[in-house]
Symmetry: C2
Subunit: 570 residues, 2 copies
């Protein structure tokens, strides 16, 4: 395409609304524009990249034997009521009514829809396995949409749902998707690490996330410094710090008038955080749950939720609830005499001696508290792993980075097929629920993540595989007929070869054109200038600093070479 | 793809929910399934056809210089309030609120969004002309969703918006789209007739619809029996029947106790419908509008609305309004002494003599009424043209057929750019509103219309250009190793050639496979059976009755031949 006919909306200034590089660059390069908070319009340049990513995803999904489907974004409430998620989903689900006052939502995900399709269309084990996927717009009313399409309210997702007759089949389906995802992110030039993720009430190693490192990511990812272990912090098991065994001292109640927080208590008792066990109270679906962890630790809500069999609402208990459970103001909760629905005690606390806890009395704490002698509870791993702890695989030190999820593969088992009565007839004539898996990739988020990993001070540096255009041909002076003639020839030849090429024939200075080409991130730039008198043009790769001068007749083979280097065919 | 791995959901029975052939066949062939009234999920087979139609549309739009864009389906209310359509759109617009109680709609169309984009991105005449299009999901809460995807509430549309600096530019853009639409429907094998359509308050011949004949269409299309004139009945001008001039008789009030309807009056007065002029009262945006047409004619609401400068709400006046305007019960309205905001008189009535009208008094009519002497009003063409009237182009007889709109091209002029303050700087440094056009194609409706025009008793007969698969290879007996080997070879060879081929390797009787292939409408069928001992297979076109026996080695060239015949390349 000729750029004089294109809607080019590059911006020189950094838009105030953008905080992270991908967001800034997508706005500056004119790839998208904001319609409302977390809702974007894709301009031609941005849409081209999206379509390229979609094509990679589609190819790999098809190669893995999945079949493309397209479900409605509008889903009737009845399906969600069947699965029990209509009420559970909360404010994140966009809901609406039609003219007859029937309830619908805009699908935040499609487990219910595909389970419904399977129960209607699949009767026999002979039709299994089956994997249906779609590339479709999803809606989630995020509390804080931010960072452009990294955390938006309307986004494009590839979601796939597999149906198998048994667990062995599900394993095969899951592994195929795992392999497909590795290929997809590789082909998109995205360094996405596959990490173990929490799989909720289903348990086992049934869930994996594909994460990219990101300062603004919403997740903490645990990496081993020695082996290839990687897991979401929600999932990574902690290793209890085994304190030195001590003689049990006598329990003592101490007045601590102005000390409520761990910091205040550390000052008051003049000791370390490690000498305390804090008791945190949560309101989990209306029940009061107390969780004890060492004073310097953080409660892991996912681990707590899992031991409770799953939770819909999980929040800190309010003052009234705390007062009812402890008989005291906030800041004095402890395990001795507390009235809660469940007292969960982190394994590490069991291995502490003579520690300090709240006394369930305003202004008092207990000293010399010991598990077993003074209180008991349900013991388990309820805390976040911390930097320097042991890798659960090899025992070496772990480290933690922030990350953003770009893909998630998940064994659902029979969670939805059972609740929605989705069955097939097995070889033995018996009716059984489908073994299901679900597999998501955030297409729009993948695009933003690629930019996060591929940019420099001048703009985006697209991998050739997803670039909006492969090559830009820039005549330095559009009033020079010879330059224009050569530029047109190169443009025409490359186009004929199947190269996605643009020509910057705008009446602008060469500097402006170079700046725009760099900002837009086109991988190859061919500059047609004064050197044409020697039969030469300039050839520059966006991801390299140097400019080569090459003979005009070698342009085509040079471009082919770059394609080959990138394992791409024309 | 091998059919044993595909989700095949063909049905032998005709589903009760379907009334028209395309709807029945899309369900029977397993192309889609209903999710809710007017909301459908597309199964793999149906989605493939949709994508093929989309590709044709995309190619022709790109060739016409339009650029693909993708706007959000969720649109903030503010944009619609600016254009004045938030209140005007009524119950047909799906509306929702986000978690912060901000109003959004699900876009039924995108004029506001693209006008907003233009005013933000286009500053100068140098950036014009520009045509932006998208292929995207639209939402309209139809009162009566029916006929499958022919009239659904969620549907896929290609909508384009052109921006020009002046009318001459808009003419060029409009004509390019006209040509593109002709190509698109031709390539899709759809016989769509371009007809003149009403362009509302803008006037002129600025709007054209692409219509397909259909018994269940929502529009009446006027065709000339002699020339190529075609128009929507909303638009087609009527020709007044010039009655013989008569001596004006004396006005007479007559008691007509039980006669209110035209039929009852015809009996009562023992004369023809043509002797009456009926006076119909409408509530148009709160005003009372009376429209007079001859007793046997129908009021054309579009023509009435246009003369009033456009109308949002247009409905029959209720009893209270009628009583207020006429002082009488419904059935006795007439022009003499009526109290209305506007009295519109069809031209034909002006040329009637000594006719009968209501007397604005319950139980009475006037006889020997004459325009000019007894009453006056705003004269114009306010009625539908009828079969046998004169073609406005050549004067020959017209005829009328029902039709369904599959495309619409429309000169918007400055309607939206003015109301939304969307301007650019012209050559002379002055700020001017964009001259806009909009151009829609119902992708899903096009798919249904193709089926309406291409099916037989056995199923769909897809044009090769949009068929879900080009060729199906059917081994008669999958337990016969030789048949399977030959079938695999043919399948592999065609696939390599770029043919979209499936192989029916299911463990089913050949009859079942033939039936499914016919139902699904695959254009070419290659049957691998006993004749392989003679080196032969059967070759059958879906749209021809005969089966040919051909040599195995000629299969590829036979397929190529069919592609060439259809002007398609591989």
């Amino acid at each position: 395409m000729k750029m004089s006919n294109m809607l080019i909306s590059t911006l020189r200034e950094v838009p105030a609304e953008a905080e992270i590089e991908s967001h800034k660059l997508m706005l500056r390069a004119g790839m998208m524009r904001k319609m409302a908070a977390g809702v974007y319009n894709y301009m031609p340049l941005g849409l081209k990249v999206l379509k390229n990513i979609e094509d990679v995803v589609r190819e790999e999904m098809n190669a893995a034997g999945a079949q493309e489907f397209l479900a409605s974004a509008m889903i009737p409430a009845e399906l969600w009521q069947e699965s029990g998620r209509w009420d559970a989903y909360g404010a994140e689900m966009f809901r609406l009514k039609d003219r007859n006052q029937r309830d619908f939502c805009l699908g935040p995900t499609h487990e219910e829809v595909f389970t419904d399709i399977a129960r209607n269309e699949i009767k026999s084990y002979k039709q299994l396995p089956l994997n249906l996927y779609q590339i479709q717009t999803k809606y989630r009313d995020e509390r804080r949409p931010r960072f452009g399409i990294m955390r938006s309210r309307e986004f494009i997702m590839k979601d796939a749902y597999s149906f198998d007759k048994d667990e062995a089949g599900l394993d095969v389906s899951f592994n195929k998707m795992h392999a497909a995802y590795v290929s997809i992110f590789n082909r998109c030039g995205l360094d996405a690490k596959c990490v173990e993720a929490d799989s909720g009430a289903i348990g086992g190693s049934n869930s994996a996330e594909f994460m990219v490192k990101s300062e603004v990511g919403e997740d903490d990812i645990v990496f081993c410094t020695a082996c290839d272990y990687a897991a979401n912090i929600e999932k990574a098991p902690s290793t209890p710090d085994m304190g030195e065994k001590e003689e049990l001292k006598e329990l003592r109640k101490t007045e601590t008038p102005n000390a409520r927080t761990i910091e205040e208590l550390v000052n008051f008792f003049n000791c370390s955080k490690k000498n305390f066990a804090k008791t945190l109270l949560f309101n989990v679906d209306g029940k009061v749950i107390a969780v004890m962890v060492r004073g310097d630790r953080e409660v892991n809500e996912t681990k707590v939720s899992n031991v409770l069999g799953g939770a819909v609402e999980f929040e800190m208990a309010d003052e009234e609830m705390v007062r009812k459970a402890t008989g005291a103001a906030i800041g004095f909760a402890g395990p001795i005499g507390i009235k809660v629905d469940e007292l969960l005690v982190d394994t590490e606390v069991v291995n502490m001696y003579n520690f300090i806890v709240g006394a369930n009395e305003t202004g008092y704490h207990f000293e010399n508290v010991n598990y077993g002698r003074d209180f008991e509870g349900k013991v388990g791993d309820y805390r976040n792993i911390t930097i320097g702890e042991k890798c659960p695989h090899c025992g070496e030190e772990i480290t933690i980075s922030r990350g953003t999820e770009v893909g998630h593969i998940f064994k659902l088992g029979t969670k939805y097929s059972e609740s929605m009565n989705a069955n097939f007839i097995d070889e033995d004539g018996k009716s059984r629920p489908f073994m299901m898996g679900c597999y998501g990739i955030g297409i729009t988020r993948t695009m933003a993540s690629i930019i996060e990993q591929h940019h420099d001070d001048n703009g985006i540096v697209w991998p050739l595989s997803v670039a909006p255009y492969h090559v830009t041909v820039i005549p330095v002076n559009i009033k020079d007929e010879n330059q224009m003639k050569i530029a047109e020839e190169i443009y025409g030849k490359l186009k004929k070869m199947g190269v996605d090429v643009i020509m910057d024939d705008r009446n602008e200075r060469a500097g402006v054109k170079f700046k725009d080409a760099d900002l837009m991130g086109v991988p190859m730039r061919i500059t047609v200038g004064k050197k044409i008198v020697d039969g030469e043009v300039e050839f520059k790769l966006r991801n390299e600093a140097d400019t080569e001068v090459i003979a005009i007749e070698t342009v085509a083979s040079r471009v082919e070479e770059i394609f080959a280097k990138n394992n791409l065919s024309l």
